[in-house]
Protein backbone atom coordinates (compact mmCIF):
# COMPACT_ATOMS: atom_id res chain seq x y z
CA UNK A 1 0.00 0.00 0.00
CA UNK A 2 1.27 3.45 -0.89
CA UNK A 3 2.21 5.62 2.04
CA UNK A 4 3.77 8.95 2.82
CA UNK A 5 5.10 9.51 6.33
CA UNK A 6 6.05 12.88 7.75
CA UNK A 7 7.99 13.74 10.85
CA UNK A 8 7.84 15.29 13.28
CA UNK A 9 4.07 15.46 13.66
CA UNK A 10 4.38 18.75 15.50
CA UNK A 11 7.11 21.30 16.02
CA UNK A 12 7.18 24.39 18.23
CA UNK A 13 10.00 26.90 17.75
CA UNK A 14 10.88 30.54 18.35
CA UNK A 15 11.20 33.12 15.62
CA UNK A 16 14.62 33.00 14.00
CA UNK A 17 15.08 29.26 14.47
CA UNK A 18 15.78 26.95 11.55
CA UNK A 19 13.59 23.88 11.08
CA UNK A 20 13.84 20.72 9.00
CA UNK A 21 10.74 18.78 8.10
CA UNK A 22 11.02 15.20 6.90
CA UNK A 23 9.01 13.17 4.44
CA UNK A 24 9.55 9.53 3.50
CA UNK A 25 7.52 7.63 0.97
CA UNK A 26 6.71 4.24 -0.48
CA UNK A 27 4.73 4.77 -3.64
CA UNK A 28 4.30 2.72 -6.77
CA UNK A 29 4.49 4.61 -10.04
CA UNK A 30 6.31 7.48 -8.31
CA UNK A 31 6.54 10.58 -10.49
CA UNK A 32 7.32 13.47 -8.20
CA UNK A 33 7.05 14.77 -4.66
CA UNK A 34 5.33 18.00 -3.71
CA UNK A 35 5.32 20.20 -0.63
CA UNK A 36 2.31 22.29 0.37
CA UNK A 37 1.66 24.77 3.18
CA UNK A 38 -1.81 24.68 4.71
CA UNK A 39 -3.08 27.33 7.06
CA UNK A 40 -6.79 27.48 7.83
CA UNK A 41 -7.65 27.13 4.19
CA UNK A 42 -6.53 25.39 1.01
CA UNK A 43 -3.06 23.88 0.63
CA UNK A 44 -0.71 26.34 -1.04
CA UNK A 45 1.87 24.90 -3.43
CA UNK A 46 5.51 25.29 -2.39
CA UNK A 47 7.73 22.92 -4.40
CA UNK A 48 7.60 20.03 -6.80
CA UNK A 49 10.65 17.75 -6.88
CA UNK A 50 11.30 15.23 -9.59
CA UNK A 51 15.06 14.69 -9.65
CA UNK A 52 17.33 13.58 -6.84
CA UNK A 53 19.89 15.91 -5.36
CA UNK A 54 18.69 19.14 -6.94
CA UNK A 55 17.76 21.70 -4.30
CA UNK A 56 14.79 23.91 -4.93
CA UNK A 57 14.79 27.23 -3.14
CA UNK A 58 12.28 30.00 -2.58
CA UNK A 59 13.31 32.70 -0.15
CA UNK A 60 13.85 31.13 3.26
CA UNK A 61 12.44 27.77 2.15
CA UNK A 62 14.36 25.04 0.40
CA UNK A 63 13.76 21.40 -0.37
CA UNK A 64 15.61 18.42 -1.77
CA UNK A 65 14.68 14.91 -2.85
CA UNK A 66 16.59 11.63 -2.45
CA UNK A 67 15.03 9.03 -4.74
CA UNK A 68 17.43 6.32 -3.63
CA UNK A 69 16.54 6.60 0.04
CA UNK A 70 12.94 7.65 -0.75
CA UNK A 71 12.76 10.82 1.28
CA UNK A 72 12.65 14.56 1.05
CA UNK A 73 13.33 17.40 3.47
CA UNK A 74 11.92 20.89 3.68
CA UNK A 75 14.10 23.48 5.38
CA UNK A 76 12.88 26.80 6.69
CA UNK A 77 15.53 29.23 7.91
CA UNK A 78 15.00 32.29 10.12
CA UNK A 79 11.42 31.23 10.86
CA UNK A 80 8.71 33.85 11.30
CA UNK A 81 5.32 33.66 12.98
CA UNK A 82 3.77 33.69 9.50
CA UNK A 83 5.39 30.32 8.84
CA UNK A 84 3.03 28.73 11.35
CA UNK A 85 1.00 26.20 9.41
CA UNK A 86 0.65 22.52 8.59
CA UNK A 87 3.20 21.47 6.00
CA UNK A 88 2.01 18.64 3.79
CA UNK A 89 4.18 16.35 1.72
CA UNK A 90 2.52 14.53 -1.18
CA UNK A 91 3.63 12.19 -3.93
CA UNK A 92 2.15 11.59 -7.31
CA UNK A 93 1.01 8.02 -7.89
CA UNK A 94 0.17 8.10 -11.57
CA UNK A 95 -2.41 10.86 -11.60
CA UNK A 96 -3.33 11.41 -7.96
CA UNK A 97 -1.62 12.92 -4.96
CA UNK A 98 -1.09 10.84 -1.85
CA UNK A 99 -0.61 13.06 1.18
CA UNK A 100 1.23 12.53 4.39
CA UNK A 101 -0.43 13.49 7.66
CA UNK A 102 1.52 16.72 7.78
CA UNK A 103 3.82 18.47 10.22
CA UNK A 104 2.22 21.18 12.32
CA UNK A 105 4.71 24.00 12.79
CA UNK A 106 4.11 26.70 15.38
CA UNK A 107 6.47 29.66 15.49
CA UNK A 108 6.29 31.88 18.56
CA UNK A 109 7.72 35.40 18.79
Amino acid sequence: EDKVVQSPLSLVVHEGDTVTLNCSYEVTNFRSLLWYKQEKKAPTFLFMLTSSGIEKKSGRLSSILDKKELFSILNITATQTGDSAVYLCATYNTDKLIFGTGTRLQVFP
Binding site: Y36, P43, M48, L88, D95, K96, L97
Partner: protein, 111 residues
Protein backbone atom coordinates in the same frame (compact mmCIF):
# COMPACT_ATOMS: atom_id res chain seq x y z
CA UNK B 1 -3.44 35.26 -11.65
CA UNK B 2 -6.68 33.30 -11.82
CA UNK B 3 -7.10 30.60 -9.22
CA UNK B 4 -9.35 27.61 -8.79
CA UNK B 5 -12.87 28.68 -7.87
CA UNK B 6 -15.20 26.58 -5.78
CA UNK B 7 -18.79 27.13 -4.79
CA UNK B 8 -20.43 27.23 -2.44
CA UNK B 9 -17.84 27.97 0.25
CA UNK B 10 -20.06 26.64 3.01
CA UNK B 11 -22.97 24.24 2.86
CA UNK B 12 -25.18 22.85 5.58
CA UNK B 13 -27.36 19.86 4.75
CA UNK B 14 -29.39 17.34 6.66
CA UNK B 15 -28.87 13.60 6.62
CA UNK B 16 -30.17 11.87 3.51
CA UNK B 17 -30.18 15.11 1.52
CA UNK B 18 -28.24 15.74 -1.70
CA UNK B 19 -25.46 18.25 -2.30
CA UNK B 20 -23.72 19.52 -5.42
CA UNK B 21 -20.31 21.14 -5.24
CA UNK B 22 -18.88 23.10 -8.16
CA UNK B 23 -15.33 23.69 -9.28
CA UNK B 24 -13.93 26.00 -11.93
CA UNK B 25 -10.30 25.11 -12.70
CA UNK B 26 -7.54 27.52 -13.63
CA UNK B 27 -7.92 28.42 -17.34
CA UNK B 28 -6.06 26.07 -19.68
CA UNK B 29 -5.53 23.46 -16.98
CA UNK B 30 -6.42 20.04 -18.39
CA UNK B 31 -6.95 18.04 -15.21
CA UNK B 32 -9.32 18.49 -12.27
CA UNK B 33 -9.08 16.61 -8.98
CA UNK B 34 -11.44 16.30 -6.01
CA UNK B 35 -10.21 15.70 -2.45
CA UNK B 36 -11.96 15.24 0.88
CA UNK B 37 -10.30 16.46 4.07
CA UNK B 38 -11.78 15.51 7.43
CA UNK B 39 -10.93 17.40 10.63
CA UNK B 40 -7.27 16.94 11.52
CA UNK B 41 -6.69 14.68 8.54
CA UNK B 42 -4.78 14.95 5.30
CA UNK B 43 -6.63 15.38 2.01
CA UNK B 44 -7.90 12.10 0.54
CA UNK B 45 -8.16 11.76 -3.22
CA UNK B 46 -11.66 11.09 -4.53
CA UNK B 47 -11.64 11.34 -8.32
CA UNK B 48 -9.97 13.13 -11.22
CA UNK B 49 -10.79 14.14 -14.78
CA UNK B 50 -8.44 14.70 -17.68
CA UNK B 51 -9.87 16.52 -20.66
CA UNK B 52 -13.42 15.81 -19.43
CA UNK B 53 -12.85 12.05 -19.07
CA UNK B 54 -12.53 10.35 -15.69
CA UNK B 55 -8.84 9.57 -15.29
CA UNK B 56 -8.50 8.08 -11.83
CA UNK B 57 -10.68 7.10 -8.92
CA UNK B 58 -9.84 6.93 -5.25
CA UNK B 59 -11.87 6.32 -2.14
CA UNK B 60 -15.08 7.84 -3.45
CA UNK B 61 -18.31 6.34 -2.06
CA UNK B 62 -20.85 4.97 -4.51
CA UNK B 63 -23.24 7.67 -3.25
CA UNK B 64 -20.96 10.27 -4.83
CA UNK B 65 -20.54 10.96 -8.51
CA UNK B 66 -18.71 13.61 -10.47
CA UNK B 67 -18.35 14.87 -13.97
CA UNK B 68 -16.50 17.47 -15.97
CA UNK B 69 -18.36 19.57 -18.47
CA UNK B 70 -17.45 20.99 -21.87
CA UNK B 71 -16.36 24.29 -20.28
CA UNK B 72 -14.03 22.27 -18.00
CA UNK B 73 -15.87 23.04 -14.81
CA UNK B 74 -16.58 20.03 -12.64
CA UNK B 75 -19.34 19.09 -10.24
CA UNK B 76 -19.29 16.63 -7.35
CA UNK B 77 -22.72 15.24 -6.59
CA UNK B 78 -23.29 13.71 -3.19
CA UNK B 79 -26.50 11.87 -2.36
CA UNK B 80 -27.95 10.25 0.77
CA UNK B 81 -25.64 12.40 2.87
CA UNK B 82 -24.34 10.95 6.12
CA UNK B 83 -22.91 12.67 9.18
CA UNK B 84 -19.50 11.29 8.26
CA UNK B 85 -19.54 13.20 4.98
CA UNK B 86 -18.97 16.43 6.91
CA UNK B 87 -15.59 17.64 5.71
CA UNK B 88 -13.74 20.15 3.58
CA UNK B 89 -13.96 19.30 -0.10
CA UNK B 90 -11.15 20.66 -2.23
CA UNK B 91 -10.93 20.86 -5.94
CA UNK B 92 -7.51 21.19 -7.56
CA UNK B 93 -6.35 21.62 -11.12
CA UNK B 94 -3.11 21.07 -12.98
CA UNK B 95 -1.62 21.32 -16.42
CA UNK B 96 0.08 18.31 -18.01
CA UNK B 97 0.55 16.50 -14.73
CA UNK B 98 2.48 19.27 -13.03
CA UNK B 99 1.80 20.78 -9.63
CA UNK B 100 -1.80 20.88 -8.47
CA UNK B 101 -3.30 24.16 -7.37
CA UNK B 102 -6.06 23.93 -4.83
CA UNK B 103 -9.26 25.91 -4.61
CA UNK B 104 -10.45 27.46 -1.33
CA UNK B 105 -12.62 24.45 -0.58
CA UNK B 106 -16.26 23.87 0.29
CA UNK B 107 -16.98 23.18 3.93
CA UNK B 108 -19.86 20.72 4.08
CA UNK B 109 -21.67 20.17 7.35
CA UNK B 110 -24.24 17.40 7.55
CA UNK B 111 -26.61 17.64 10.52
Amino acid sequence: AAGVIQSPRHLIKEKRETATLKCYPIPRHDTVYWYQQGPGQDPQFLISFYEKMQSDKGSIPDRFSAQQFSDYHSELNMSSLELGDSALYFCASSSQGNEQYFGPGTRLTVT
